[in-house]
Symmetry: C2
Subunit: 111 residues, 2 copies
DNA sequence: TTGACGCGCAACCATATGGTTGCATATAAC
DNA sequence: GTTATATGCAACCATATGGTTGCGCGTCAA
């Protein structure tokens, strides 16, 4: 999978507030199961499990089956892709800003 | 608007691949109109305009009416909120990692 | 003034999405 | 062996979302 589609999946996964708070919860606990998390949320276990699955698909969480429970833990690596995207957009914008300032300076000189 | 909901809107806006590529396009050009962008995309102007509006609502773009056209430019500030969130999640995860290593070390010492 | 250009708004549509219920399966405990 | 716990899977539902078409309104130019 190329970097582009990886970023797509990460941002899409993080796009839902519920999923983001799940990532937060798992990060704070170190690891957690769908049942644990659902116990403190106004949604069913299945809903949480579905979202955890989506986050795992995006590579943000890692699922580990331990006995009869599946524990999820954070895999922060994909987040770097997201940061990279943000940085690259910021850089492109900065370049345009610099170019704009330059052309304004030229216009001022020519005046 | 508090930081939390601001982050919500930013990530939600960035969640759609189409919107993200619009941000990229605007960042590269410095500024652009819905008509300009739609000309190079397989969608209608209205679709682009709607997405640009969503991005503007999220604070990622700024709309400026100039005569009969509306130019959009990038406002990178909200992106920092997104990075902050990512960093904070990473930090929380790191803390748990450190705590885990510490308890493992303790267990080793006790052995 | 008249026509072209660019926008914004509203209605409408197909599909995706998050959530729920119901049930079957596997593991741990008694 | 039997019961309780934890999951996974599938069907189903309401709503959100992205996109389209149609249309009316300012704005610029001939």
């Amino acid at each position: 999978m190329d970097a582009g589609s990886r970023v797509d999946r990460v941002f899409a996964a993080l796009g839902d507030p519920g999923r983001r708070s799940l990532v937060e919860a798992v990060a704070e606990r170190g690891s957690a199961t769908a049942t644990e998390l659902a116990a403190e949320l106004p949604v069913t276990r299945q809903a949480v499990a579905k979202q955890l699955g989506a986050l795992a698909d995006a590579g943000l969480l890692q699922a580990t089956r331990a006995g009869r429970e599946t524990r999820y833990s954070v895999t922060p690596a994909p987040l770097e892709d997201a940061v990279d995207w943000i940085v690259s957009v910021g850089a492109a914008w900065d370049e345009r800003l610099v170019a704009l300032r330059r052309s304004l300076a030229r216009a001022t000189d020519a005046r």
